[in-house]
C-alpha cells in the first residue's frame, strides 16, 4: 500500500495540468450532436493529437501514448479537473481502436488507426437492435457473402454519433444456420455506403444524438471483417471489455458532483437539515469507495492482472452511485426540482436536468444494472444459470 506518487508521476501531472490550463477552451463548446459542435470538438481533438494526448492508453507503436495505468489515471483526473470538453471520438479510441489493435491485420491497422487518432474518421457502434438489447446474441442483421463482399440487411438502434460518423463497427449475423454465438461476425461498415438510412431518435431529456440505422442491401468488402468470420462474438466481448476497463480518474467527476450537492444544499437553505447532511455524506462515502476500488483495479492491471466478469461490478457500482447522487440533488431541491434550468426560481445549475436524466440512462446503457447483476451472480459468484426460454 502506497498512496504517494513518484517524482516522475508528479512531473507528469504538472505537465498535463499546465498543458490543460493553457489549452482547454475557455468557452463551453456546442454540443456534439450538432455540426458546429462536431467541428469545434474536432479542433480540440486535433490540439490533443498534436500534443500526443489523444490516446495515452494505446501502445506507442500504433500511435498512442504508451502510458501506464497510473499515468492514465492521472491524466483522467486532470482532464476532469480542468473541465475539458467531452471526447468526440470516444467510441473509436476506447472501443474500435483497441479492437483493431488486438484482432486486426497490419493492413487494417494502417487503414483505420491513424484516422481515429486524428479524428479524421469518427466512429459509431452497431451492436444493439430492436430485438437485441440485453440479449445481444439475439441480433438479426444479416450479412450474406456475395463474392468479395458481404451484403447487409437489417437494423441497428440507439446508435449515437451516427449522423456524423463515417464508420461503424458492427456485429452482424453471417450464418443463420449456426448457433447464436457462433454465427456472428464483427465488421467495419463505411457509413456512406448506399443502402444505409438513418432515422433520428429524440431522447427522454429532449436531446437528439441517437438514431436507428437501417441497412438495405448494403455491400461491404469482406476485407473489413475483424478476426474470423463467425468469431465476432468473442471479438465483441473483448471490445466491451476495453470499455469496462476504463474510468480511471472518473472519481474526480463524481467528487465534484458531491461538492455540488453541498453548494446546492446551501442555496436551497437546507444545509442544516440533518437528513440532507446524512444523504450527502453517504454519497461522499460511495465516491471514496469507487475511487479506492478503481485505484486497486489499476494496481492489479499494472501488475499484469486482468479483469473479467468483475468489470460488471464496476459498472453496476458507478451507475447506481451516479443515479443516487442525482436523486439526492432532487431531494435537496424539493418542489423546485421540477423547474426547468432557466425558470426564474430555479436553483439548479444549467444542464442539471440533462445530467439528472442522463444518470437514469447510465443504469441502462452498456448493460443494464440487471444484466450486470446476472453476470456478477452467475460468473463471479458461480450461481446456477437462469433456465432460458428458447425463442423461435
Amino acid at each position: 500500500m502506497d498512496l504517494t506518487y513518484t517524482a516522475t508521476e508528479h512531473e507528469f501531472r504538472a505537465e498535463v495540468r499546465d498543458w490543460l490550463a493553457a489549452n482547454t477552451p475557455t468557452e463551453v463548446l456546442p454540443p456534439i450532436y450538432t455540426a458546429a459542435g462536431v467541428a469545434a470538438h474536432r479542433v480540440w481533438e486535433r490540439t490533443m493529437f498534436d500534443a500526443g494526448y489523444s490516446a495515452l492508453h494505446w501502445p506507442r507503436e500504433h500511435g498512442g501514448g504508451g502510458a501506464g495505468l497510473i499515468e492514465q489515471a492521472i491524466f483522467g483526473e486532470e482532464y476532469l479537473r480542468a473541465g475539458a470538453p467531452m471526447r468526440l471520438n470516444r467510441l473509436a479510441l476506447g472501443l474500435a481502436g483497441p479492437t483493431v489493435i488486438q484482432f486486426g491485420t497490419d493492413e487494417q491497422r494502417r487503414q483505420w488507426l491513424p484516422a481515429m487518432l486524428s479524428c479524421d474518421d469518427l466512429w459509431c457502434q452497431g451492436f444493439s437492435e430492436p430485438e437485441a438489447g440485453s440479449d445481444l446474441a439475439g441480433l438479426r442483421t444479416r450479412a450474406e457473402r456475395d463474392g468479395d463482399d458481404f451484403v447487409l440487411n437489417g437494423q441497428k438502434t440507439w446508435t449515437s454519433m451516427s449522423a456524423f460518423a463515417n464508420w461503424m463497427f458492427a456485429m452482424v449475423r453471417s450464418d443463420p444456420d449456426s448457433s447464436r454465438h457462433r454465427s456472428i461476425t464483427f465488421i467495419m461498415v463505411p457509413m456512406d455506403t448506399p443502402g444505409i438510412e438513418l432515422r433520428p431518435i429524440r431522447q427522454l431529456h429532449g436531446e437528439p444524438g441517437f438514431a436507428e440505422v437501417f441497412f438495405t442491401d448494403v455491400r461491404v468488402s469482406a476485407t473489413n471483417v475483424i478476426g474470423e468470420v463467425g468469431e465476432g462474438w468473442s471479438v465483441a466481448m473483448a471490445t466491451l471489455g476495453f470499455e469496462r476497463g476504463t474510468g480511471l480518474g472518473d472519481h474526480v467527476r463524481f467528487a465534484r458532483d458531491v461538492a455540488d450537492l453541498v453548494e446546492l444544499a446551501r442555496r436551497a437553505g437546507v444545509a442544516d437539515d440533518p437528513v440532507v447532511r446524512d444523504e450527502i455524506a453517504a454519497r461522499w462515502v460511495e465516491v471514496q469507495q469507487f475511487r479506492r476500488h478503481m485505484q486497486r483495479t489499476a494496481t492489479r492491471l499494472a501488475a499484469g492482472g486482468t479483469i473479467g466478469p468483475e468489470a460488471s461490478m464496476t459498472k453496476l457500482f458507478w451507475s447506481e452511485m451516479e443515479a443516487r447522487i442525482f436523486e439526492t440533488a432532487l431531494k435537496i431541491l424539493g418542489p423546485l426540482a421540477e423547474l426547468a434550468d432557466d425558470a426564474p426560481d430555479s436553483l439548479a445549475d444549467r444542464g442539471f436536468h440533462r445530467r439528472y436524466w442522463h444518470s437514469r440512462a447510465s443504469r441502462i446503457f452498456a448493460g443494464t444494472s440487471e444484466v450486470q447483476r446476472n453476470i456478477i451472480s452467475e460468473r463471479v459468484l458461480g450461481l446456477p444459470r437462469e433456465p432460458r426460454w428458447t425463442s423461435s
Binding site: 453541498v262 446476472n374 451472480s377 463471479v380
Partner: protein, 341 residues
Amino acid sequence: MDVELSDQQRELAAGAREFLSEQCPPSRVRTAWDEGHDPRLWSQLAEVGFLGVVVPEEHGGLGLGDLDLAVLLEEAGRVALPVPLLETAVAALTLLDAGSPEQCKRWLPGIAAGEVVATIGLPGQSLVVAAPDADLLVLARDGGLHAVEADRCELTPQPAFDASRRLATVSVDTGPDTSLTDDPAKLARFADRAAVAAAATLVGIAAHLVRESVAYVAQRRQFGRPIGSFQAIKYRLADAHLAVEFARPLTWVAAHQVGVSDAGDPEASAAASAAKVAASTAQATANEHALQCHGGIGFTWEHDLQMWLKRGKALELAYGTPAAHRARIADDLFTGTGSTR
C-alpha cells in the same frame, strides 16, 4: 500509487484463514456463548503471534502495522471469533501512541504473550466489550485517555444478543496515575482506530455471510431447481457481494492512513469514518440478504448463521454508528476544512 496488499500481507491473510477456520469452527463460538471467555483460544492466538501483531518486536510482538491488523481482523470476522482481539489490538496501538515507555513496558509484553486481555471504551461509549474478562481497560474518560486496571473498575454486566460480546457498563475512578494523554488528536486517533478495526471485522463478517448464502442457495431446491437460479435470489447476493468488495479497499486505505498519518490527521479521520460507514452498510446488506436467502432454516437456533447475523448487527452499530460517522463527514464537507475534498 499502489492500493493492494503486499505479498507478506496476503500470506498473513492466508495463514490466518487456515488457522482460524481450523481452530475456531462455529462449535467453538457456540461454546464461548455458554462458557464465556475462552482462555485456551486466547493462548493459541498468542502462540501464533496474532495477539501481538501490532506490538513491537522489543515487547515480544510481530511489530506490524494498522493495515496488517485490518487484514487479520477481516479473517477474525469470517469465523466470528468470540474473543476480544479487536479491542486488545486497538488498546495496544493506543498504548504505543499515547502511553509512556513505562506504560508500554508494563502492558505490551503481556498482551503479546496472551497474559493480558485488554479492551477499549470510546468517548461517550458506556458499553464495554469483554469487560468482565479484561485485565486492562483503555478508556476515554473525563476528556482524556486512561489505562485502567480491572480492579479499579466497577462493572455492571449487560447481557447482549451475542453472548460472546460480554458487555458491561464500567464506572471507574480515573486519576493522574491512569492517564495516558489529554491530547485531543490522540483521542481522535483512538476512535479512528476502533472504527477502522470494526470496519475490517465487518468486511470479514459480511464476506462470510455472502459465501455461506451462495453455497446454500446453490444446493437448496424448490420448484424443481436450485433457488440460486432465481433472479430474486441472485440479485440480493450480487448486491451484497458488490457492497463487500467495494468496502474492502476503502477499509485498507483507511487503516493505512490512520497508521502513517499524524495523530488526528483530518484526512485519515475522514477515511476512517468512511470505512466504518461502507463496511457497516455492506454488513447490513449482507445480513438482510443472508437471512432471506436461507429462509426458515436460518431462523433456527441450531443454524450457525445466527452467530454472524448477531455479531454483524452488534458491530455495525458499535464504535460509531454509521449515522454518527456520516454526521462527522458532513460537518467536514460543510465547513470545508479540506479533508473531504
